[in-house]
């Protein structure tokens, strides 16, 4: 039996009081407990940013890597040991800005990992510059006249890139979010949850109130997430009503399925077959 306490870290939490990240962290713990996943079975990989600090505030195996590079790190770890359960925590800058290329290509690979993007629509850790999801015109310390680039739509991107699990959560709806995380981790293949996360210190536009007025839970509406076209349309919907839930889910062959694992065992568990290597070395012409 796994319980919440198993996941409690003694490491001091460094987020601002009231930050939406707390909701994500506790939804994550709830989901992990529900999934009966023990800390030693979990690897959390992250980039750099406030979101990416998550693994320190949790008891688990952790690789807190470089800004933007969580996905390739996680990909490599999964390839080495496909028995790992890997959850990636990333920020909107980390995943869609610096790491945008990896985002697209990790989806193409369909590596079986879960990606939780704490989308606060701002660069938190570096003190408030615009992120790829910041509102057009948002004023920041380095964009004093407001941003001039249109915000990126991560869900649409993930959908057209071919992701088999695309969802949106809200850090203010913990229970719902925890359910999404459970579903995402259980999904075989690449799963993305873009999580709306108020940054109480630096984003004065997209606040708890702003979101609370707009978010709409898809499931009571009877939405069935099996139609990619419908999911894309939904993902493009204006910001007056922001759908929460699984927009699209479809199981597809994963990277490991397509690759054909060497003999079913994770690479890391294979013995070193000296004989076989020597035979090859002795036979080369």
């Amino acid at each position: 039996m796994v319980c919440i306490e198993d996941y409690e870290s003694t490491f001091e939490n460094k987020w601002c009081p009231g930050c939406g990240n707390f909701g994500i962290l506790s939804a994550l713990k709830d989901a992990l407990v529900d999934l009966e996943l023990a800390p030693e079975q979990l690897l959390v990989v992250s980039g750099i940013g406030q979101a990416a600090k998550t693994p320190h505030f949790l008891k688990c195996n952790a690789f807190h890597g470089l800004h933007g590079r969580a996905l390739p790190l996680a990909t490599g770890a999964k390839m080495a040991n496909h028995e790992l359960t890997i959850v990636v925590h990333s920020g909107d800058g980390d995943c869609y800005g610096e790491g945008g290329n990896h985002f697209i290509h990790a989806i193409r690979r369909n590596v079986d990992i879960t990606v939780l993007v704490h989308n606060n629509r701002v660069y938190g850790l570096t003190k408030g510059q615009a992120s790829p999801t910041s509102d057009l015109g948002m004023v920041t310390p380095v964009q004093h006249s407001g941003t001039v680039s249109a915000p990126l739509n991560p869900l649409s991107m993930a959908l057209v890139a071919g992701a088999g699990f695309v969802a949106r959560g809200f850090s203010g709806h913990g229970k719902h979010l925890s359910g999404l995380i459970r579903a995402a981790v259980s999904h075989r293949g690449f799963s993305l949850i873009d999580i709306l996360q108020p940054c109480v210190s630096l984003n004065r536009v997209n606040t708890y109130e702003w979101y609370s007025k707009r978010v709409v839970d898809l499931s009571p509406e009877g939405y069935v997430p099996d139609d990619l076209g419908a999911a894309i349309t939904l993902s493009r919907q204006g910001e007056d009503s922001i759908p929460l839930g699984i927009l699209y889910q479809k199981e597809m062959p994963t990277f490991m399925d397509r690759m054909g694992a060497f003999d079913g065992r994770p690479l890391v568990a294979e013995p070193y077959d000296r004989q076989k290597r020597q035979t090859l070395l002795s036979q080369i012409g």
Binding site: F11, P39, E40, Q41, L42, L43, V45, I48, K53, P55, H56, K59, C60, N61, A62, F63, H64, G65, L66, G68, R69, L71, P72, L73, A74, T75, G76, A77, K78, M79, A80, N81, E83, L84, T85, N101, H102, I104, H105, M259, F262, D263, R265, L267, V268, E270, Y272, D273, R274, K276, R277, Q278, L280, L281, S282, I284, G285
Partner: protein
């Protein structure tokens, strides 16, 4: 040395020149000859001018020769380009499109004969046949090799090629050629291996299980060979979306417990430098091959250089221990690669293997037997090695600087690492004491690492004139020494494979004082010379530098030394 012949086959990209070369090599090898072959190609897929040049000898050869004895020019452009390299009694074979210009030139209707054999695309095989005949190779040997080579591609193709080789062979029967020699029947002296393949074999022998890369000449060939092993061995070879991803995939895999690598060239290496630092601070073993080519930027993508030495030693912000090795031959590339995987794990550091286009693509007869280690020492701990797995600290401070390394999700011990500065448990720390102890701990590894570093190798090391080189120029430098000594010049050389941590004491002792010391390098500024001065205070007397993107030839080194001969 009674046999020492250089054959150059030249033509357009797409004419199958590499295949001719490969087959010549195989025939020679089978007969028990030594060969050493280089490839020259432009950054294009069809057309232009490229060549394959093979030196054949009954003695080991480890450098190309600048005089061509037999030139087979499949295009008139390449005849023009290379005829001045012909030795006085050399012979040029030309095809239909060139007119014979002098008595050293003979026309063979490669294309016409090829059509006879089954199609114009067999012109290269016709040329190979002609070439082998002129060298005096036994026909049956040629036929055996050719049929073995083409068999996997089906009977029709094999037959056509056999026709073609025969037609070529016959076509030159009456052409007089002084370079013909008597072929031994000794059987192979060793395998025919180029640097890229040697590294791939070394990675396999070193138990590499994941290779992530982004295609980049001249490194791609390494990955191509590795990919070929991935069905039979536990090995994933993955093409990444870019070099940043490649390096991070490799780091992720290493963290999760398998030996991993990536290979690239300068521009890709640039993009990996941040990840190099990540491996450094997270103490994750990592092997990176940087196959050098001339830069800056895209530079000369298919040519050779040795100009990234100081860059790879200092690459990445701040300081962290790393190994830098530059092998001098395919055999050494194999060994160094096996060693790289071992040392990366022993010290939990990144290891950079510096090769270059010349070595990656150059084929040698490797006499040394390539051996896989009996046992792979992983330097990994598990719960059973710990008193208290729950209290495991990934970055425990030890005198050697090396902390017991556990793997994630392989036991109760939780493994926490970060690219931020951290405390022993792997969590972020900004404290002064953690910072100092972690920097010191990482730095402390250098002591152990230095003990695993091999000193430079001397050849006539006490000579009056000492050439000092590193990496792939070893063969050319050694041969230049032989030539100079034969001419009564007291020359010797000192070759570095292990470049970082720099074996400063050994170098200072080997170089000594009071004689002429010349660095021989393929860059513009003499990087090894700078490094030696930085590390030992010794300023070399001069430098023989070549930076045109072409391989170093022994005679160029001799020419460079002459002004220093008293």
């Amino acid at each position: 040395m009674d046999i020492d012949t250089t054959v150059k086959v030249s033509g357009e990209a797409g004419q199958g020149i590499q295949t001719v070369g490969q087959l010549l090599g195989l025939v020679c090898r089978e007969a028990g000859l030594y060969v050493m072959a280089i490839s020259d190609f432009e950054s294009r897929i069809r057309g232009g001018s490229s060549f394959f040049q093979i030196r054949i000898s009954n003695q080991p050869v480890r450098a190309p020769h600048h005089r061509v004895d037999l030139l087979v020019a499949l295009t008139s452009e390449t005849l023009e380009l290379y005829r001045n390299e012909l030795s006085p009694d050399g012979l040029a074979l030309i095809g239909n499109d060139s007119a014979p210009i002098d008595s050293n030139t003979q026309q063979v209707l490669f294309t016409a004969l090829a059509s006879q054999a089954g199609g114009r695309i067999y012109a290269n095989t016709v040329a190979a046949g002609a070439c082998l005949a002129l060298l005096g190779a036994p026909l049956d040997l040629c036929q055996t090799i050719f049929s073995g080579h083409f068999r996997p591609r089906g009977k029709a193709i094999t037959d056509n090629n056999l026709n073609a080789v025969l037609l070529g062979y016959e076509a030159v029967k009456d052409i007089p050629y002084s370079g013909r020699f008597t072929w031994p029947h000794d059987g192979p002296r060793g395998a025919l291996v180029d640097g890229a393949r040697a590294i791939a074999l070394g990675a396999l022998a070193g138990d590499c299980r994941l290779a992530a890369f982004y295609p980049m000449s001249p490194a791609t060939a390494i990955m191509q060979h590795l990919d070929g092993f991935s069905d039979a061995f536990p090995l994933v070879v993955e093409q990444a979306e870019d070099e940043i991803a490649a390096a991070n995939i490799a780091i992720g895999a290493s963290f999760a417990g398998v030996r991993s690598m990536t290979a690239t060239s300068g521009g890709g290496f640039c993009l990996m430098t941040e990840a190099l630092g990540l491996a450094g601070i997270t103490e994750t073993p990592l092997v990176i091959v940087n196959a050098q080519r001339p830069g800056p930027a895209t530079g000369l993508p298919t040519r050779t250089a040795q100009a990234d030495l100081l860059f790879v030693i200092h690459a990445g912000q701040d300081e962290f221990p790393r190994f830098v090795f530059a092998p001098g031959s395919p055999a050494e590339a194999f060994e160094v690669t096996v060693r790289a995987f071992h040392l990366a794990e022993k010290y939990q550091v990144p290891v950079i293997i510096l090769v270059d286009q010349y070595l990656a693509d150059a084929t040698f007869i490797v006499e040394e037997s390539l051996t896989a280690p009996d046992h792979i020492e992983r330097f990994i701990v598990g719960d059973k090695d710990m008193k208290d797995p729950a209290g495991y600290e990934r970055f425990a401070v030890t005198p050697s600087g090396v902390s017991p390394r556990a793997l994630p999700c392989r036991g109760k011990a939780l493994v926490v690492v970060t690219g931020n500065e951290h405390s022993r448990d792997g969590h972020i720390s900004e404290s002064i004491s953690d910072r100092i102890s972690m920097v010191d701990k990482r730095h402390a590894k250098l002591d152990g690492m230095r003990e695993d570093i091999c000193p430079p190798r001397a050849y006539h090391g006490t000579a009056e004139i000492l050439l000092i080189g590193w990496g792939s120029t070893e063969g050319a430098i050694a041969e230049s020494v032989d030539r100079m000594r034969a001419d009564g010049i007291d020359a010797g050389c000192l070759m570095f494979t292990d470049l970082w941590p720099f074996p400063a004491d050994a170098a200072a002792e080997a170089i000594g004082e009071g004689r002429t010391t010349l660095v021989v390098e393929q860059n513009r500024s003499g990087q090894l010379g700078k490094l030696i001065r930085e590390q030992t205070g010794i300023a070399c007397s001069g430098a023989i530098l070549k930076y045109d993107g072409r391989p170093m030839y022994p005679h160029e080194i001799v020419d460079g030394v002459l002004p220093f001969v008293r």
